[in-house]
Symmetry: none
Subunit: 212 residues, 4 copies
């Protein structure tokens, strides 16, 4: 077992090494301009080795998102399962989870939303697409259930909870992407956190039935 385990661990470490490199390179150059050789160099490996761990460039790119989506999922489920929270508290926890996920690895979150809103999505293998689908649906399900509870309790406006979840997701990704774009277009400093705060605040007020 010991040997088996160590091999397993080493394999995982190697994957990490590649993922870290890929993250950097994709973030800097974008998907198309980044070459497998760039990533190999950044990982201090040969191009061939990368293919021992990832089927192809698309999968490597998508796998970055998978990890963060998984993390987001766990955090959201945690929020859903916490007992004894008021609706407002749960909404707040929701925001915090999303915020934390972003802070956990901003580059990867940006990558994920880039992937989500890009042509690359169309070229993924069905299996990978299915995995992404499952994860994102799961996240959205958790979110919408939270909203559903709030609506039931009469504190949130009576919109379809799935729509509310979609809006929250769109708002989150929209802010992340738009702040990224502004950096490129305007060469402007990054106001992501501030804007995200404002956005979540408005959203929270917007779905509440009454605002003091």
């Amino acid at each position: 077992m010991g040997i088996q385990e160590r091999k397993e661990r080493e394999r995982e470490r190697r994957r990490q090494q590649i993922i870290v490199a890929a993250k950097r390179v994709f973030s800097e150059k974008g998907f198309t301009k980044a070459t497998m050789e760039d990533i190999a160099k950044e990982a201090e490996l040969s191009p061939g080795t990368i293919y021992l761990y990832f089927k192809n460039k698309d999968e490597l790119y998508a796998s970055l998102s998978l990890r963060i989506l998984q993390y987001l999922n766990i955090r959201l489920e945690h929020v859903a399962q916490q007992k004894g929270l008021s609706n407002d508290e749960r909404i707040k926890a929701l925001k915090e989870a999303m915020f934390d996920v972003y802070n956990f690895d901003p580059l990867v979150v940006i990558n994920m939303f880039h992937l989500q809103s890009s042509e690359t999505l169309k070229n993924l293998s069905p299996e990978l697409l299915a995995e992404i689908k499952q994860l994102s649906q799961s996240s959205l399900k958790v979110i919408s259930e939270i909203f559903a509870a709030g609506i039931q309790d009469g504190v949130f406006i009576e919109k379809h909870p799935v729509a509310l979840a979609d809006v929250l997701w769109a708002l989150f990704s929209g802010v992340v992407l738009w702040e990224e774009s502004k950096k490129i277009i305007n060469g402007e400093k990054d106001y992501l956190k501030e804007t995200l705060e404002v956005a979540f605040d408005i959203f929270g007020r917007g779905i509440s039935k009454s605002v003091a």
Copy 2:
């Protein structure tokens, strides 16, 4: 004169022909996968001809967005200049303008937000980037001025008006992109209009100081 004019008109028609083809092909395949030959075939022209009207693939892609950004600009300015509107009415007009622009040419609006939130932006010529910058800044300025007025009148919450404009823009683009993605990920029908309605509604409520 007549001859000059006719040539001018024919040139413009040809440009349109190319733009229409490009719109279709880019929408279907995404920027990278779409080839100039695809577009030429769709336009029933030779590849060389496209280069008589557009400097290169990037410019062709971006030009789709430029046109819609210009249109958006005009619509927004119109909203800003309308006399005698209450803050709520102006916000409503704002939403309608954005909605109309989307409906005017959904494919192009989606393309525009794809461009905005993608690596392609990084590879644009400085001139083109400058043009996009100017147009998007202009749009955001109009939006933020509307918010500023509402804040001054005490009907909107006291956030920085530029931040509010960013949030609205991010929300709009986020919803458009996310609904597009859902179509790919889930193969799901397009709930864009409904989601956009909900999103705008929440946003409107969220920035109002008091909600009945």
Copy 3:
């Protein structure tokens, strides 16, 4: 007749117009980088018109050389036919003729030698190549006959007169091309005339049987 003649004259004038433009453009950009459109613009004509006067780009390029080769031919024949010149005087007249031809239109002479020492030569139509062949052979024949006379008179060294003619031609073209290259390589001022003087001087001394 008058009409016919005028047409003829106008046609010739148009040809000239194109040739002048081609000369400038080819000199500035070289054969490959120069485009037919460049030349058309310089001539203030449309690309199509050029093809009414020249079969294709190669022929246009070569036709520049044809004219100067014809002129050189005339000058050389004149030298050969002048009565009562000593061998030295005839050699001097030879140099002067070559020098004059260069000064008559340096750009075209450079072009001619570029053509002569270039790949383009391989792509010319057989007819054009034949014409060039005829002209250059004629020039070299005149030169070699002058040398033959001098050898017969015992004042020039006893080398094959054709070889001497080839050497003189090679020297002339070599100096012109090398001074051109130096301008590009070193960004250096043009010492063509001085170098040509030295070259002709050395050549003259070199073929003389005795040098004072």
Copy 4:
């Protein structure tokens, strides 16, 4: 070490393989008409492989010349450093060095002079141009120093030694190029060696102060 060395050797062998192929193809078709695919086929490699060894077509072309220029340089320096040679002997050694370089690889020498006297020079990368500049300047410097010594000793005519070096260089390249052209124009056999002999002979006599 052994493995490193073998790789090194194989890399060099591959470079040679490409250079040999390029030499043939460029000689036959000229720079413009030769395609990278032609060269790849001739080398029995894929087009992509060539780019692992040469940055682009220009560099490949120029690299042919660089090698021969380096060789010429070495030979010329050797002539300059030989002790105890009379001026005449040194001139003779100079001729022999140039002759040898030509014989070492005629195709490449012809290529080199084609490059030198062509538009291609204008399109070279600055680094490559600098390298060529450095090498040719070095060669010419050695030549002119030999002439300077002879002038000082009173056995050569009192012209500027740099001008003499230019003339010799021009003569060499002029003869090589002109004999090549004659093959194309006249389909004539190659008299290069004979003509070069005559040319050097005349040059030698021409720069000597007194000829017996």
